[in-house]
């Protein structure tokens, strides 16, 4: 590897300014031929901007500095220019057309055609070859909407391969994938490396970076801080990377917390949920769960285990059909048929997908904050606008949301700050039970720590908190007790002291046993 000592890519002195903000300042990046190069940095550090400069999304002339690719200074004006040179970027939000087939997507904009007429035989044949290269055994004429996110990611890579990619850029490729798909994807990247394809990978998952990267460049506040050789004499630990990203030692990734646990607040018994359209499918199977005041309870599970479905079915039956079982609040049975009723009864559910289900991105912070319980600031249906501003401002300060005022449109905030607005919105609703679904997904290490602190504070204020997370260290770091789910069933619960990644994983992978209905 990397016998050719000249780097395949050098970016020198890249400076990119947006009105009022310097997003990149004199950034240098050097990528060796045939390596996997990771780029780390907090959200808003400038990683994506740098990659957009490289791939021509921000064309030549809109930034300062030089891009040297394979020894030639390049001036990409459009994405097409960079793709012609073999630089392909795969964005975090996949750019596939759901109703077209895999083959059609692979050659979209690059059709196998003569005189505008598509050669289907060639299209499907070449697509099948590419799919074999990425290890995807789907038929090329399968529609994109019919395959999962993990496979869609592979289609994106096949599409990149069809463009004779030399440098593949992956922006958060595993953010939406489960562990199995992630592992497969990382294997594929390694495999492509063997075929001489250089990769740049942007990821928040430091364990992945440690596993796959040959070198890691850290970007902080729009500056390139350092490039670490991952195979050097001194092993690069996750903590070492974090130190570079935040510019300080995070001696502890999780704030310490001494819980004060009170009475039971929420309990469900024999809780069963069926699929909303396929009524015969059981999604949550006879689940029992309880959470006490001041307690932080985790729910671990692999993708499809039914965690989100369980949470949303509790939250005013916002998911599922044929829901049966009992729900007790403070020991009393209640029936919550609507989201409105759930909120009235002090239950809040902060979604795992803040952009699609959590926030109104075109609206400002204050209106998002008040959205779930406008009644708090209204009299006779009329909103007290001044009170709204004051209260939203108070929550903004409590959450340390970085914005000049509560008039800022939420869509312009970073992921971490958006997540804080989501939390503010649900705290504003004054819940007793707070269900947080993947509360730190896609946000950076520093902001994660702040979110953990907020969660601890909520528990200290006597709220019952349920945290759903795919990151086991996170659950082990913040929860007092952890439930594990597998295939719709709660397969076990462990107090923090007894839980470990291994023990949880055993419960999370437990197969359905014998008698099921």
């Amino acid at each position: 590897m990397a016998n050719d000592t000249t780097p395949i890519l050098e970016m020198r002195g890249i400076t990119k300014t947006f009105p009022g903000v310097k997003a990149l300042s004199d950034v240098t990046l050097s990528v060796s031929r045939g390596e996997v190069h990771a780029i780390c940095g907090e959200n808003g550090a400038g990683k994506s901007t740098l990659m957009k400069v490289l791939s021509g999304v921000y064309g030549h002339g809109t930034y300062e500095g030089d891009i040297v690719f394979e020894g030639e200074t390049c001036r990409f004006r459009t994405v097409r220019d960079s793709e012609e040179r073999g630089i392909v970027i795969i964005h975090q939000e996949l750019a596939l057309s759901p109703y077209l087939s895999i083959a059609e997507n692979i050659f979209l904009g690059n059709e196998r055609a003569r005189g505008g007429v598509i050669n289907w035989a060639q299209t499907n044949k070449q697509a099948a070859d590419l799919l074999a290269r990425v290890g995807l055994s789907e038929s090329p004429d399968t529609k994109i909407e019919d395959i999962g996110v993990g496979k869609q990611q592979l289609v994106e890579i096949a599409k990149a391969l069809s463009k004779k990619v030399k440098l593949l850029i992956l922006d958060e490729p595993t953010a939406a994938l489960n562990d199995e798909d992630s592992a497969h994807l990382l294997d594929l990247i390694r495999h492509l490396k063997g075929q001489g394809i250089t990769s740049i990978i942007i990821s928040h998952k430091l364990n992945e970076i440690a596993a796959i990267a040959d070198s890691t460049t850290i970007i902080r506040d729009g500056h390139s801080i350092e490039t670490l050789d991952m195979h050097g004499a001194e092993p690069v630990t996750e903590d070492r990377i974090i130190r570079g990203m935040v510019g300080r030692d995070l001696e502890n990734r999780f704030p310490s917390h001494e819980p004060t646990i009170g009475d039971e607040v929420l309990r469900i018994a024999n809780w069963t949920v069926h699929h909303p359209t396929d009524h015969s499918r059981v999604v949550v199977d006879r689940a029992d769960l309880d959470v006490r005041a001041g307690e932080i309870v985790g729910i671990a599970g692999l993708m499809g285990a039914g965690r989100t479905e369980l949470a949303m079915s509790i939250f005013g039956r916002s998911y599922g059909s044929g829901i049966s079982g009992q729900l007790f609040l403070h020991g009393k049975p209640v029936t919550l048929k609507t989201v409105d009723a759930a909120i009235e009864h002090g239950i809040a559910y902060a979604t795992e997908d803040r952009k699609h289900y959590g926030l109104n991105l075109i609206e400002d912070i204050k209106r998002n904050t008040s959205a779930a319980k406008l009644k708090r600031i209204t009299k006779g249906g009329v909103v007290d606008a001044a009170r709204e501003v004051i209260m939203a401002e108070q929550y903004r300060k409590d959450m340390k949301t970085k914005a000049n005022s509560v008039d800022v449109v939420v869509g312009k905030l970073s992921g971490g700050n958006q997540q804080k607005v989501v939390l503010a919105k649900w705290l504003f609703a004054e819940p007793e039970v707070l269900i947080l679904d993947e509360p730190t997904r896609g946000i950076d290490v520093g902001a994660k720590y702040e979110i953990y602190e907020i969660i601890n504070k909520l528990a200290d204020a006597g709220k019952a908190v349920i945290v759903i997370s795919s990151e086991l260290p996170e659950l082990l770091g913040i929860c007092d007790r952890i439930y594990a789910m597998s295939q719709g069933r709660i397969t076990g619960q462990l107090p923090r002291a007894e839980a470990s990644q291994e023990s949880l994983m055993r419960y999370m992978t437990m197969e359905k046993s014998g008698a099921t209905r």
Binding site: N43, A45, V408, L413
Partner: protein, 409 residues
């Protein structure tokens, strides 16, 4: 919508000190360019016509006529903004105007009801029409485009059934709604109508007091306010606009058209409804992100239903005004009214994707279309070219809006 450009703050930087004046005047204008852009466009169009029509454009009687001719657009546009903000469309309002207008005329002639009773029943029937459409949209889940396209045919057909011939001979009191003016109860100041001057002064003082109070409250709480210069500038502009309108109307033959009062009151009520009530908030929330609104406890079906009931009620009001203006129930009335209302909403900055839009914006949009109509008519432009020009203006207005947003990103 304030397009404050707050990109992510670099982490290490301390938070900038919070300024109380909301930043520079320039930045403020930049953020609100869309809103003021349309007002500026309106003023430019008026100025151009004032020159090309040798001053006839701002002739007092023409201004009164402008308001009376376009009252139906203002009223329909109010409801249409709400429909579009929620992510729907209503293609049926023109037909509903004809249908309800026909019933209104028949109630006064064949049924010999007094005109106030007929008006009340007509508006209620408009509400029932809204219930019908709202039911299909909200509870059955048929896209509003389809439901109201069906409604467009359905109610036009029913209008023809109701009015097998034009029904004229409506009471004078009824005809006065759209054609009459407030009686000069306050006498005259020189040649100015006293009641009109009083209303103008009252309107400005009311506006100024409300604005000053709101600003003082924000300042007291040390919260973000617009720059002082912008605040004063806005008040001065409002004074000039209200003053000019008052002067023109007070020196017109009739004084204040009655429909102006109706429109004014409706604009006030609905602006308040959209900005300050839970119902209004829920409309914006649903248009901005429907799933998020559902998960915030918004009863989306009910809100959708009410939006269409409201559109029906306003179509009922527009039907009364249209019938009054014509002095007769006509089956072909209201043709293309839905397009006028939709165009007014979009020219006034309502987002095609929903979630964004203001009542006042739609009123300005309607005024732009109305002024174009009147100016081109005074100039004697061929009606065919009038249509061409209005079509281009609609496209240009929305294109500017989109380009402006793209630049803001």
């Amino acid at each position: 919508m304030s397009a404050t450009t707050t990109l992510e703050q670099p982490k290490a930087q301390p938070e900038p000190p919070r300024k109380n004046d909301g930043g520079s005047l320039k930045a403020y204008l930049g953020q609100n360019i869309q809103q003021y852009g349309m007002i500026a466009a309106l003023l430019v169009i008026i100025a151009i016509f004032q020159v090309t029509t040798d001053g006839l454009m701002l002739n007092p009687d023409n201004i009164a006529a402008l308001i009376q001719q376009n009252a139906y657009v203002f009223i329909l546009a109010i409801g249409m903004v709400m429909v579009i903000v929620a992510g729907h469309i209503d293609l049926s309002v023109g037909s509903v105007v004809a249908f309800v207008g026909g019933i209104c005329a028949i109630l006064m002639t064949d049924f010999e009801l007094s005109w106030p009773v007929a008006v009340a029943i007509s508006i209620a029937i408009g509400g029932l029409v809204g219930c019908w459409q709202g039911f299909w949209v909200a509870y059955v889940g048929i896209p509003a485009f389809i439901v109201t396209l069906g409604g467009m045919l359905l109610f036009r057909g029913l209008a023809i059934v109701v009015l097998d011939q034009t029904v004229a001979g409506l009471p004078d009191g009824f005809k006065k709604i759209s054609n009459g003016s407030l009686s000069p109860v306050a006498g005259y100041l020189g040649n100015l109508d006293g009641i009109t001057v009083f209303i103008g002064v009252f309107a400005f003082v009311g506006l100024a007091v409300a604005q000053v109070r709101a600003r003082r409250e924000l300042n007291k709480l040390e919260l973000h306010t617009e720059p002082f210069a912008a605040f004063v500038g806005k008040l001065v502009l409002a004074a000039l606009a209200i003053g000019a309108l008052t002067y023109l109307l007070a020196s017109s033959a009739g004084g204040t058209p009655i429909v102006l009062i109706i429109v004014g009151v409706l604009v006030l009520i609905y602006t308040f409804l959209m900005n300050n009530t839970i119902f209004g908030r829920h409309i914006y929330a649903m248009g901005g992100n429907l799933p998020a609104a559902m998960l915030s406890g918004v009863k989306t079906k009910r809100v959708n239903f009410l939006i269409f009931v409201n559109m029906g009620l306003l179509a009922g009001v527009a039907a009364v005004i249209t019938t009054s203006r014509a002095g007769a129930g006509i089956a072909a009335a209201g043709t293309n009214y839905e397009l006028d209302a939709i165009a007014a909403a979009f020219i006034g900055g309502t987002s095609v994707n929903g979630g964004i839009g203001k009542i006042t914006g739609a009123i300005i949009g309607a005024l732009i279309m109305g002024v174009l109509n009147m100016g081109l008519s005074i100039m004697g432009t061929d009606p065919a070219y009038q249509q061409v020009i209005k079509g281009l203006v609609l496209i240009a207005a929305v294109a500017l809006d989109i380009l402006n947003k793209r630049r803001g990103k």
